[in-house]
Amino acid sequence: MTRAARQVGAVVAALVVLAVLWETYKALGPANGASLDTTRLLPRTDDRAMPHLWTVLTTLGSPEVSGVAGSRTVGAAVLFGALNSLRLALLGLLLGAVVGGVLALLMQRLRLLEAGLLPWVVLSQTVPIIALAPLVAGWGGVLRVGSWAWSPEASVVVISAFLSFSPIAVGLLRGLHAPGATEQELFASCAASWRQELVHLRLPAAVPFLLPALRLAAAGAVVGAIVAEISTGTRGGIGRLIIEYAQQATSSPARVYAAVLGAAVLGLVAAGLVALLDAAVLRRGRLA
């Protein structure tokens, strides 16, 4: 079995296990859950709290606004929202990769900068996005360049980039430092310029470090995009849809789970895109 097939198999197996756990608990768990005083220990299992998985799947085909002709289905709304969030997350990942890449190059070039900057790059990831989101939206809202004005989507992209630049910067920097003394002296002996050393030695040596970093960054970008949509109230994405459907939980409890399912698929698609890139790089490396 190939590596890719094994990975896909693992994802499918995980989904099946999750589905089985869900339905088993729903069947066997107490209908009203279990509480200790006011603290809920086990969730309720009635259809409102935990709809059957097939109810979640069939709700995808139901119209979003019932009784209105031509209303789009819940599934279409989820798909549209997920694609929109994916677009923002990929833009964020791209921005994060550029920022992280430039930071790594600067830190590699200037030792002093590495000592001063690296701790902040790592620490930046401990800032909660919930706290960051209103700040970005607030500061960004003031910006206006020519005819282009800051949009809520720009806030989402920036927050998404904030969660993805750090793994890239740290991973790439480690990779740039990977070549040993022998390789560095070899390049020095050939009077190679910094640029030549970068292109022919440090960047190729960094590729194996960059791919796992990209995987982390992609996950960060997706989480960042969804949480940023929720906390800035940006419309059009899956994050906002989760909030909207959660408010409809009394009338259609399955909807919020459909939206969560969309978010999960979104994460899988992002991971899949990185895996494809990974495979392409590996194949090129073998042929070059």
């Binding site: 040993g180 022998t182 390789e183 002296e185 070899l186 390049f187 020095a188 002996s189 050939c190 009077a191 190679a192 030549q196 022919h200 030695l201 190729p204 040596a205 590729v207 490396g285 070059a288």
Partner: protein, 264 residues
Amino acid sequence: MSPPSAKAMVEVSGVTQRFGTTTALSDVSLTIASGEFVTLIGPSGCGKSTLLRLVADLLTPTEGTVHVAGKTARAAREAQDYGIAFQQAGLLEWRTVLRNVELPLELHGVGARERRARAEELLEVVGLADVADKRPSQLSGGMQQRVAIARALAAKPALLLMDEPFGALDEMTRERLQDELLSIRAREGTTVLLVTHSVSEAAYLSDRVVVMSPRPGRIAAVVDVDLPLRATGTPTDVRESPEFFAATTVVREALRAPARVASP
């Protein structure tokens, strides 16, 4: 300070090298004539690699001067007057064997066709033409080291610097590579400065063996080696000749009692 002489390939004069409080080399002077094969031998930590790195301009001496091919060491490095091979082959895993050999030429802007032709020629010389398209990790240690030597020779350097290039290899491979090195050197007319800790390797390869002593590193003795069978005999003849045994004995004694031998 005397100007660098025209015939000298390497001229080290009055060089002292300090790393913080350690003095790795103290007032070392050494001249290597064009076409000569010189080895540096001495106990670990006596400054052999340091001296080689100074010649390669990978280090700048604390005191003294280093000239290579009639230029400052720096100018010689920039002109690719020397090629260097280390104990570790240091091959780039993402390049094929052929493209590893091409690297020094590529860094100096030599056109693709020309550098390819030169690399193919060199792989032929070191007997690795059939693995040109392999990855370095697919090769044995001895083969990797041969690729590193081919790479060091790529830019047709007048001087070949080697830091224990056969140190990690088994005895059989080591002897075969020593013979290959001698024939390459005869063919390319390269001056060689080689660091080793093997007495027999030093005696077998060199025209002159420079024996060093530690703390602080200095030259304890210089032993001239003359093996007449090199021109006429087989490698085995040379290795079994009385002159070879005599040379190893002199080198070994110089190593044992460095203090008693006057610095030349």
